[in-house]
């Protein structure tokens, strides 16, 4: 559905982002207020363009409307639910992670090796197909519950013991 070869890469990644957000369980109570939107922050340059914004207008995640914002680590980071870290923000990753550590914000990066470094989920391309790694250790630390069928799809799962 989202891995079709004929689609632009970031359209696929946008779709996957939505699916991952849907599949992963946020700590309980996160979506207790219906009027609060599900906020996706984009750290760095937005590679999705208007596709993601358009999609956010039509789809909900965990029953909430979706809002796309640029991620500002200085601002109240607690209002974000998911942060997409673009490929160019490699140097800022440790800082970013530091900022959102222990917060129920799912980090998704667009680059190989990010997840090894602590990002919860990192996109990568294998055999011309867009896939992802999961750092289950950090995700669990952040209070997320990653379901098995999502883990099954991951190219690699890091569990804190280096695997």
């Amino acid at each position: 559905m989202v891995s079709g070869g004929g689609f632009p890469e970031y359209q696929v990644k946008a779709e996957m982002l939505f699916r991952i957000a849907e599949f992963v369980d946020w700590p309980s109570g996160t979506f207790s207020r219906q009027d609060k939107p599900f906020v996706i922050g984009i750290a760095g340059k937005d590679p999705f363009g208007p596709y993601l914004t358009g999609k956010a207008k039509t789809q909900k995640i965990h029953g909430a409307c979706v809002e796309i914002r640029a991620f500002d680590p200085e601002a109240a980071s607690g209002s974000f639910h998911l942060v997409f870290i673009s490929e160019h923000e490699r140097e800022r990753v440790p800082l970013l992670l530091k900022k959102i550590a222990r917060l129920p914000i799912l980090s998704v990066s667009d680059g190989e090796g990010f997840s090894h470094d602590g990002v919860h989920i990192g996109f990568l391309t294998v055999d011309e197909r867009i896939r992802f790694n999961i750092n289950l250790s950090t995700a669990t630390q952040s209070g997320f519950v990653v379901p098995a069928n999502l883990l099954r799809l991951a190219a690699r799962v890091y569990r804190g013991d280096g695997t």
Binding site: M1, V2, S3, R19, E22
Partner: protein
């Protein structure tokens, strides 16, 4: 069908029943098991497939959500671990085909490329096919639809295997049933077969056979016991029947009657010994199957018997005492008194006829003889009566004719009177013969040498008959003497000779033969008492006689000769003569061969024969007139007139009375006045003998001449010799009268010669 089954043997029936029951049981079991298993298998498949679809849908929803096609296909491949699953498809949320897998080895059927995105959970179970649509949902969001299709071919194959097992079982049962049938035959039907064999042997007549009763009991043993009881009863019954049959045969063989029975077609079924003897068939049992045509009866008799049978069977009524003739096997013709009774079956239908007969030949012959002699007697009485009256009339005519002759001188007139006289004498001679037959002329009983009579008769015949006839004498009897009247006997012999002559118009041989004939025991068919008899045979070689003629031979006036040639009295007179001599006469004749008369006369041994013939030559009428007073008593006027005239012509004084009382009254007045009384024997009111007695009482020395229409030479002789009474048969010639009267008057008067109470009964007609 069921009646056909029943005609089969027990073994076959048992085999079929075992086969049928086994087949039915197996078929029931397999059908029920198949239905239950089918349901169960379908339900199991349905629930398994549905469960699998749910799991697969849930499992694959992430692959669908994230577009992981190869992973999804790999997952779908795992579904084929369940052997019923044949293909699986995943459609996305828009209803487009996302992933599709078909089991290896199954020809891939083209699956739908697109389905409704809102396809609900559906289970479609058709004949051999199960299809499930399962929505794929994660966190209440629908991502697509999973389709699973499963085949029921697997358990269909199971059922096929079951059917094969059923068939195999049937074949096994078939194979097993044969030895079972053999065993069943050994256990059940062999004793029955053995019993059947024994029953057939009993039915075939071997009543000693008994069935062995098994110790175990049961129906067969009970059947054997029943068969044995039946055989005992049958044997007893057959023995009884056999004994009854033997008794019947014994009784029927020893009763003096022939017994037989015939079936509806007059075919003989049974007969007794007497019948077998009469029919000449040897043993009585040989009669079975024969008809009257096979027996020696005469043709016309067979027709009669058949009609008799048919009559009895058609009317259903017995006919008793039918007298019928029968020719025995030995050729003898006998008479039977037969009775035939219809035989009925249980329904009352006539099935044949039971006949019995007794031989009544002797009775019939006796009856015939009796009838014949009764007839002869009746004819004799008739003839005698006629002859008496006729003689009276002739006496008148003859006397008148003779007186006329004495008075007439005209030769023409004399010749007329001569004619009357001749006719009278001829008539008188006829009457004599008639009287001889009627035995009214009593027999003069003197010893007669029959050989002498035969020699005389033969001598007489040699001169008087056709020279072409040879007279032969075979006189073999050692003693030819009989008691009797030689004149009558000679007449009889001459009559037989004349009969023989007339039977041989072209010549031949007349044989006289005599021999001694002894009758030792009284026989029913013979009228003769036991004793010694002289048998006289007169045989000719002439044309013979038919049976009909023979039966009427001795009847007076029966003649086969042309009118005028015979009187029909000759043989009748012979018959009378023989009878009056205590003998018998019979005849044997065959047409074309000749006739033999046989006479049997009782022998009078040791008596001197009277060789003197009774015929005395009558002298010429004398010229000299007689003297004396004659009392003439006769009831016939014509006789009175003629006699008176004759007496007066002879010179006698005559007083005439027409009846006894008048004569006695006349005589009483002056008994001595009459020199002679001429007395007719047969008179009304007072008979001649009564008048004679009265006269003798009044004047015993009175000479009496008895005259009678019953001419009797013997009576004349005996009266003269014993009582001094002369006899003259009517009609008499003048000369005879004269001579007799002269002889009488010459006799000395013998007053006490006639004892009291001895009437002239010998002269009375009997």
């Amino acid at each position: 069908m069921m009646s056909r089954l029943r005609t089969l043997s027990v073994a076959a029936q048992v085999t079929l029943v075992i086969l049928g029951v086994t087949f039915f049981a197996l078929a029931c079991y397999f059908s029920l098991a198949t239905v239950i298993d089918d349901r169960h298998a379908r339900e199991t498949l349905r629930s398994q497939a549905l469960m699998l679809a749910r799991i697969a849908a849930e499992y694959n929803v992430s692959e669908l959500a994230f577009g992981y096609g190869p992973e999804a296909r790999a997952n779908l491949d795992k579904l084929f671990l369940l052997p019923e699953i044949e293909s699986a498809q995943i459609y996305d949320s828009a209803g487009r085909l996302f992933a599709s897998r078909t089991r290896q080895g199954i020809h891939p059927t083209p699956c739908q490329e697109k389905i409704s995105p809102d396809q609900e959970q559906t289970v479609i179970l058709s004949a051999g096919y199960l299809e499930i649509f399962q929505p794929m949902i994660f966190r209440e969001q629908r991502y697509g639809t999973l389709r699973l299709s499963a085949s029921t071919a697997a358990f269909q194959a199971l059922f096929d295997a079951r059917l094969r097992a059923l068939l195999l079982c049937l074949v096994l049962v078939l194979v097993l049933v044969i030895p079972i049938a053999v065993i069943v035959q050994r256990w059940i039907s062999r004793p029955i077969h053995d019993l059947i064999g024994k029953v057939q042997a009993i039915a075939g007549g071997d009543l000693t056979i008994r069935a062995e009763v098994g110790e175990a009991g049961g129906e067969v043993a009970s059947l054997c016991t029943s068969v044995n009881l039946m055989a005992d009863a049958l044997e007893r019954r057959i023995r009884e029947v056999e004994e009854a049959r033997k008794l019947l045969q014994l009784v029927s063989d020893h009763i003096p009657a022939g017994v037989f029975w015939k079936d509806r077609n007059s075919v003989y079924v049974w007969a007794n010994r007497l019948f077998a003897e009469v029919a000449g068939i040897g043993e009585p049992k040989n009669i079975a199957g024969k008809t009257d045509d096979d027996l020696p009866w005469k043709k016309e008799q067979i027709g009669f018997y058949r009609d008799y049978d048919r009559r009895v069977m058609e009317t259903g009524k017995a006919e008793l005492s039918v007298i019928e003739p029968l020719r025995r096997a030995d050729g003898a013709d006998i008479w039977l008194d037969t009775r035939k009774v219809p035989l009925h079956d249980a329904e009352g239908r006539v099935i044949g006829v039971l006949g019995s007969f007794i031989d009544v030949t002797d009775r019939i012959r006796l009856e015939e003889q009796l009838r014949h002699s009764e007839k002869m007697k009746a004819i004799g009485q008739l003839a005698g009566g006629v002859a008496h009256d006729f003689n009276n009339q002739l006496g008148g005519i003859l006397g008148s004719a003779e007186l006329l002759l004495l008075k007439l001188s005209d030769p023409t007139l004399r010749s007329y009177a001569e004619g009357i006289k001749t006719a009278c004498l001829r008539s008188s001679s006829l009457i004599k013969q008639l009287l001889a037959f009627a035995r009214k002329s009593d027999v003069l009983s003197a010893p007669v040498n029959m050989h002498q009579l035969l020699v005389e008769a033969a001598g007489l015949l040699q001169h008087s008959i056709d020279r072409r006839i040879t007279v032969v004498q075979n006189l073999e009897a050692p003693d030819p003497t009989v008691m009797g009247d030689s004149g009558q006997l000679q007449n009889a012999l001459l009559n037989l000779a004349i009969n023989a002559r007339d039977a041989m118009p072209d010549g031949g041989t007349l044989t006289f033969a005599t021999r001694l004939f002894n009758i030792e025991k009284p026989t029913s068919s013979d009228e003769l008492a036991p004793g010694r008899y002289l048998e006289i045979l007169a045989s000719d070689t002439g044309h013979g006689m038919t049976r009909e003629v023979q039966s009427r031979l001795f009847e007076p006036f029966f003649t086969t000769k042309e009118a005028g040639k015979g009187t029909g009295l000759g043989l009748a007179a012979v018959y009378g003569t023989v009878k009056s001599h205590g003998g018998i006469i019979d005849v044997q004749s065959e047409v074309g061969r000749g006739t033999t008369f046989r006479i049997l006369l009782p022998l009078a041994s040791g008596l001197k024969t009277d060789t003197a013939g009774p015929n005395v030559e009558i002298a010429e009428i004398p010229v000299k007139a007689a003297q004396g007073h004659v009392l003439l008593v006769d009831d016939e006027e014509v006789v009175r007139i003629a006699s008176r005239q004759m007496l007066e012509f002879l010179g006698y004084r005559v007083t005439v009375c027409s009846e006894g009382q008048e004569a006695l009254a006349c005589f009483e007045k002056s008994p001595s006045e009459f020199d002679l009384v001429i007395l007719d024997l047969m008179m009304p009111r007072m008979s001649g003998s009564e008048v004679f007695e009265a006269i003798r009482r009044l004047r015993p020395e009175t000479k009496v001449l008895v005259v009678s229409g019953f001419n009797s030479q013997s009576a004349a002789a005996s009266l003269q010799s014993k009582w001094g009474v002369k006899f003259l048969g009517k009609p008499f010639l003048l000369n005879e009268l004269r001579q007799t009267l002269e002889e009488l008057l010459r006799l000395p008067e013998v007053p006490d010669a006639f004892p009291q109470g001895m009437p002239l009964q010998s002269l009375s007609p009997t």
